[in-house]
């Protein structure tokens, strides 16, 4: 009979040591891992619950940015007023993961390291320049979130490594972020397309910097060339170029949620709509 080990280490060092064992898997909220274990897709020999490690749960303001513990639940993110005010797009992405019940457990690190291309929290984190702090047998390193998933279900983490926390950089002046996803229902579904955007305005109200990332349209999240937005106020011509640029980076699959053609077209629409929200938020700051 299948009978894994279970351990809940209370220090980073113990967690690293335990995760160095063959067949070890980190557990944060478990909303993906437990489902995969039940279906037989994932059968770890050692389950290492990271939630007792100091710092793995919680949100700390740091300068004008934040450090967010890897296993912090979506519900906690949504209750942190300062975080919601600074990074509404990242929080709205995280809060779209599953039901209220799933929100009570699901975490940013789990969403990232499950490495689904449709992970709702990842495009906005990438657009905002969020870094994952990875710890392992060789110490600590900071990795851009978009460099963690390498293909569906696979990450760039090596044996014994796990994400400890996320660094949300100091909020740029006059900037705003947003995340939108398209699903066929109103709740509780997997993205057909997700779009995360951060926009920074110059003093004259035109766009000085823009970062646009799409989820669910390629094996990993992909960046859209948003240079067409620079110097504009999102006029129709800039929007049309953004739409085309978004469609150009799509390399989606056909599945029950959408055909390749449909996902590609919707990607353009979602990029535009999300950019519009981020632009408004930037202007309101």
């Amino acid at each position: 009979m299948y009978a894994p080990n279970f351990a809940a280490p209370q220090s980073i060092d113990d967690a690293v040591r335990m995760l160095g064992a063959d067949g070890a898997k980190p557990l944060s909220g478990g909303t993906d891992l437990i489902v995969q274990m039940r279906s037989g897709r994932n059968r770890p020999d050692h389950i290492v619950d990271l939630k007792k490690v100091p710092g793995l749960i919680g949100i700390k303001a740091e300068g004008a940015g934040f450090r967010v513990g890897a296993a912090t639940s979506g519900a906690q993110l949504g209750e942190d007023k300062a975080l919601v005010a600074a990074y509404p797009g990242i929080v709205e992405g995280a809060e779209l993961i599953g039901s209220t019940q799933v929100q009570g457990r699901a975490s940013l690190a789990g969403n990232l390291c499950n490495a689904s291309p449709a992970a709702d929290s990842v495009p906005a984190m990438a657009a905002c320049g969020v870094k994952a702090v990875v710890v392992g047998p060789n110490g600590e390193r900071e990795v851009a979130v978009q460099d963690i998933p390498v293909s569906p279900g696979k990450t760039s983490l090596t044996k014994g490594e796990f994400v400890k926390e996320f660094v949300l950089p100091a909020l740029p002046a006059n900037s705003g972020d947003a995340y939108l996803r398209f699903i066929p229902r109103t709740e509780m579904d997997i993205a057909v397309v997700g779009a995360g955007v951060q926009i920074q305005l110059a003093g004259d109200g035109t766009i000085a910097k823009a970062s646009v990332w799409l989820g669910a349209v390629a094996p990993t999240i992909v960046e859209v060339d948003a240079s067409c937005l620079i110097g504009t106020k999102l006029d129709d011509a800039a929007m049309a170029k953004l739409d085309a640029a978004a469609q150009a980076v799509c390399n989606p699959i056909d599945d029950k949620r959408g055909t390749i053609e449909y996902r590609t077209k919707v990607a353009g629409v979602m990029a535009r709509r999300t950019a519009e929200i981020a632009f408004k938020r930037a202007g309101a700051r």
Binding site: Y2, P4, N5, F6, V35, K51, A75, Q101
Partner: protein
């Protein structure tokens, strides 16, 4: 691996149990503690029939290992009523006929209690979104929402 010894608090009382590492909290409640009010609908966190409250958070007990209960405080459907007195939500579910087969009802009640604990005055829209993770295949949801809104009003003293 040897069974894991877990001490926790369930419905206000100290509890302890032995569990296998891969046993979910739902398995523990039903099979080890004979608390069979929490139901397994899907076993994958989609239906909400196994909803419980852990340290003030609504979760699916099928998406949590029993071993994770160590040191937590848990509320299950068995802890909702006050002795023989039904919780206002339970009473309103009866009055509004907000259940038919009843399989989803424990989960809906626990989820609704968590909603009213967090927000005593939800709008109908907030209640519907909060309960989106609780599937009911009988009622069409309207009666459930009516019962929750009515219970909320009563608990506010209106």
């Amino acid at each position: 691996m040897a069974k894991i010894h877990v001490t926790t608090k369930i419905n206000g009382e100290d509890a302890e149990f032995l569990c296998e590492p891969q046993q979910t909290m739902l398995d523990v409640l039903r099979d080890e503690l004979s608390l069979t009010g929490s139901k397994e609908g899907c076993g994958s966190g989609d239906c909400g029939a196994c909803s419980i409250i852990v340290d003030g958070r609504l979760v699916c007990s099928c998406l949590m290992f029993g071993a994770e209960a160590s040191g937590t405080e848990i509320t299950t459907i068995e802890g909702i009523a006050n002795g023989d007195t039904l919780h206002p939500l339970q009473q309103k579910f009866l009055e509004h006929a907000a259940l038919q087969c009843g399989f989803c009802t424990p989960g809906v009640l626990v989820a609704s209690k968590a909603l009213l604990d967090a927000n005593p005055s939800p709008t109908e829209e907030q209640a519907r979104y909060w309960l989106a993770g609780n599937l009911c295949r009988c009622t069409g949801y309207d009666k459930i929402i009516e019962a929750v809104m009515d219970a909320a009003a009563e608990m506010r003293g209106e």
